[in-house]
Amino acid sequence: MMLEVGGLCAFYGQNQALHGLDFGLAERGIVTLLGANGAGKTTTLRALCGMVRTTGEIRFDGKPIGGRATEEIVRLGIAHVPDGRGTFVRMTVEENLQLGAMTRRDRAQIARDVEEVYGHFPRLRERRRQAAGTLSGGEQQMLAVGRALMLRPRLMLLDEPSFGLAPLIVTELFEILRRLNHELGVAMLVVEQNAALALDLAEHAYLLETGRIVMSGPAAEIGQDEAVRRSYLGY
């Protein structure tokens, strides 16, 4: 297991947002966290990155990472694509990608990786010298994923990648994610409100409700569950 989480609780000040989560992610696997607004999905990702106060166990490659600073966790190979994308809006596309590789020293390889990202996302190449803030929502999402890739991560955390994007773009994006997982072996933990898409991409799924995991299992099974279908899939 690449990522193992046990009894994870997260706190915003005095308020407890997560109440003892247990889940895991295997090498090269894709897992999705589903849930409605306020269920704690974003909090979970932030907890993994050390951005909120937590108690409980978080292990990456068997080593505990709970309580470490965000920038140190990132350096272990965990890339987080936050909700809202977190692009550096006043910097160019190229600079954003360069920033993704900030922790690496191999300049030649970095340059090659930038080209590779443009290969996955041709639209970004056209806009490489534009300020990131001028890109459309879909392009910014691709830029965010591209930036995460520049880290050469072993694990990518994606927070609502479909948010605010047109359906066609979303399908394209998820196709790319699937390809990245196959070709590069990047494990992914995808938090989504769009359950259908996420269940299609993932192998394993967890359902979150008010800070607790209420259901877990293979994605296909969760997708067939009556209650899930009615509440989250709309049929």
Binding site: M51, E71, V74, R75, H80, P82, G86, L99, M102, R147
Partner: protein, 292 residues
Amino acid sequence: MELLLQQVLAGLANGAIYALMALAVVMIYQAIDHLNFAQGEMATFSTFIAWQVIAWGQPYWLAFAIAVTVSFLGGIVIDRILFRPIHNAPILGQLVAFIALFSILNSVDGEIWNFTIKTFPTPFGREPLFGLRLISTHEAGMIGVTAVILGLLYLFFRGSRLGLAMRAAAANPDSARLVGIRVGWMIALGWGMSAAIGAVGGMLIAPVVFLEPNMMLGVLLYGFTGAVLGGLSSPGGAVAGGFAVGVIENLAGTFIPYFGRDLKLTIALVLITAVLLVRPSGVFGRTVVSRV
């Protein structure tokens, strides 16, 4: 006409120092959303160190180098020891910390080096530049050094990885952390650079206003004014603002009759306030658009 040109150039010379201070102020502001009120005192302290080294018989450029290095390190130390522990405290509380730093440095300066005015040498000499009576060599030196520093900073921030990392840390600290940038150290670096720039400014203006513990009070004020005038979100604007304030101050003092001399500061401030009323975020500042 010659008087006008003289005053404009003299204003630009002083303005160069205000621009340096404005830049130092904005650099810290972009990193921590705070104005460093103690910037001037830090610069004065550095200048005193340089003076001391020269008084011990060492050459000017050695003293210069020592002062800049000590300031750089001192800035980093002040950030790590003083401001990092309280960065979660309420804004006004942090403000008082700046005021405290100001008070401490000012008092220590006076205690170690006392309040008698000291002369400070200039490496540029004081002859009229090219024999014309427009501007002295030292004033030209002030403008020149400022231009060089600005150029170096531009190259650093636009062309180097570290500069990019610092820009990112200032623009969006959370995202910066997510790409592995150690934001805390970027801020410390910003403090160090800011202190070093302030030191240079102090050593350039000391020959003109003479060295004493309260030397930088007026200068810092004008520096703030320039920064706010230019817009706190724009380093280029801050620099332009600094130059503008220098020129305004000088022209107001010379050409507004009768109360020009006494009310120089007031006139400058009033003018700037007037500008702010028209452009509330500074001339080059970006109006902050907040998502509701």
